[in-house]
């Protein structure tokens, strides 16, 4: 699988909230081979501190030329990244990891929380192209309308209907995405694609297990290399062993992983 280390130019910066930023990066190499669920490792500064690259999901690609990342400022690396300006260059490694596997015969449902929505936009776009007869259902949740609305609009633009949920009730359901998911009329052969905070993914996993739905999760861990070299990015799997989120994942069949019982 092709991987690149590239200086990529920032061609657009959008700010959805004071701490939520979307960057559009120019990289035909990465954009033309990336698959939904894959991620990139980005240097957030040029110095030795912060030292390590930060992982971000590829949130959309366009024209095989550009790709986007959507991120929230949670620490020093993301803060530095949020201060970037258009025209500047970033060192990007990618595309990395495995992507989602899709089956057009199933009823597909995307469930995203917070920044976990990022890779689902790419997945939604790909599904509507490769399975045109079978639009996926989309359930996304975030803190407020302010940060969720631009993403809902993006899904709408590709012709997908969205069931939103917000913590403050400012858009859609007032509460959790899992509440919305549980009320949907899902077929028995449904497959759920979920990315978001760990407790949300665990809840969706148990829900799918109960109903017999297939479920793919995209896992977040701390990562030093993103390419299978440091062995730092583990997630526990069933027999006491570990899988590596960067190279075995980040997308896993939720049944392979070890989840804390509710």
């Amino acid at each position: 699988m092709p991987q690149f280390q590239k200086k990529t130019q920032i061609i657009r910066i959008e700010r959805f909230a004071s701490d939520i930023v979307r960057l559009t990066l120019d990289s035909p190499d990465i954009a033309s081979v990336a698959r939904p669920g894959q991620f990139v490792m980005i240097r957030t500064g040029n110095g030795k501190d912060p030292l390590l690259r930060r992982p971000f999901s590829i949130s959309q690609t366009s024209n095989q030329k550009h790709f986007q990342i959507l991120f929230k400022v949670v620490g020093r690396g993301t803060l530095l990244l949020s201060h970037c300006r258009e025209g500047e260059f970033l060192s990007v490694l990618g595309p990395l990891g495995s992507g989602f596997t899709v089956d057009c015969q199933r009823m597909n449902c995307l469930v995203g929380g917070g920044m976990g929505i990022a890779p689902l936009l790419f997945l939604g776009k790909t599904l509507s192209r490769t399975c045109p007869e079978n639009s996926p259902l989309v359930v996304v949740g975030s803190r407020t309308k302010e940060e969720l609305e631009p993403l809902v609009n993006d899904f709408n633009e590709i012709g997908l209907t969205v069931h939103p949920a917000t913590d403050d009730g400012s858009l859609g359901h007032h509460g959790l995405v899992t509440d919305v998911l549980k009320k949907l009329d899902l077929r028995g052969d449904s497959e759920i694609f979920v990315c978001g905070p760990h407790p949300m993914m665990a809840a969706v996993h148990f829900f799918c297990e109960e109903r017999g739905y297939a479920c793919q999760v995209s896992m977040e861990t701390s990562m030093a290399c993103g390419m299978g070299a440091c062995l730092g990015c583990i997630v526990p799997v069933k027999n006491g062993a570990y899988a590596h989120a960067c190279s075995d994942g980040p997308v896993f069949d939720s049944k392979e992983l070890l989840w804390q019982v509710r």
């Binding site: 030795k48 501190d49 030292l51 060192s91 290399c225 390419m227 070299a229 440091c230 062995l231 570990y242």
Partner: protein, 310 residues
Amino acid sequence: MASEVNGVDLRVSIGSLKLKNPVMTASGTFGYAREFEPYVNLHRLGAVVVKGISLEPRFGNPPPRIVETSCGMLNAIGLENVGVERFISEKMETLRQVNVPVFVNILGDTLDEYREIASRLAGVEGIAGIEVNISCPNVKKGGVAFGTDPEMAAVVTKAVKENSTVPIMVKLSPNVTDITVIARAVEDAGADAVSLINTLIGLAIDHRSRKPALANVIGGLSGPAIKPVALRMVYQVAQAVSLPVIGVGGIETTEDVLEFMLAGATAVQIGTANFVNPRASEEAVEGLAHYVATERLGSIREMIGGLVLP
């Protein structure tokens, strides 16, 4: 053996082993080399050192295993590896095809384990050398690391040497009062080279959760933060022993490599920098070639121990 970089002489020797240049990659930071193929022309490196291998497979420590610290990182991977048998049948198979000298980093909980793993690797095609990680706790001696006691370090060195068919390089732990004592002990025990330093033990705490950042509580510090400590130890050890010294710790650029060579290193290993810039090792080879050419040196070997003291 001709050097490939513009006819410039970058060759160095580690015992009987001739390397085309002094740039190696450090154990645990370069996977089994294949991971870096999209970024690096592996055959241009001096050598690669693979992830530490034990007799039996190990799952390693629970997460979180890594955390970034100022100009560095702490890791407590817990020596996760596939075990020597799978290493030979799966990993060596592909390593043989990359056309670069391979050092196998080995570790054990007991002296017998070191001995057994060395004999299992003896004669396996494609192994250029063994690097002995002696920073592991000796289970039979109450968990004291082999590398912190000169006698235990010597006994392990001797056991591996007696059971190996290739040069052995002993990787020293910096977590000791006087590293030259350990270096001399392994030299006397028959080591062909010493590499240093392994990680410095450290701790990171998240004050909000009041918990350690790593599940293992304590981890090993690596990266630019440890470079001055590594340079100092390389300098001291290079004066204390007559073996080739391989410098490790915070090396990222050509300039870093030159500094380690001036301090007395014959070769170097690039570790954590591979995570930040996967091309760091190959770029250092290119940088050294450029340096030798522009400074009109006869060979890179002129740099070794060339520190000008005040």
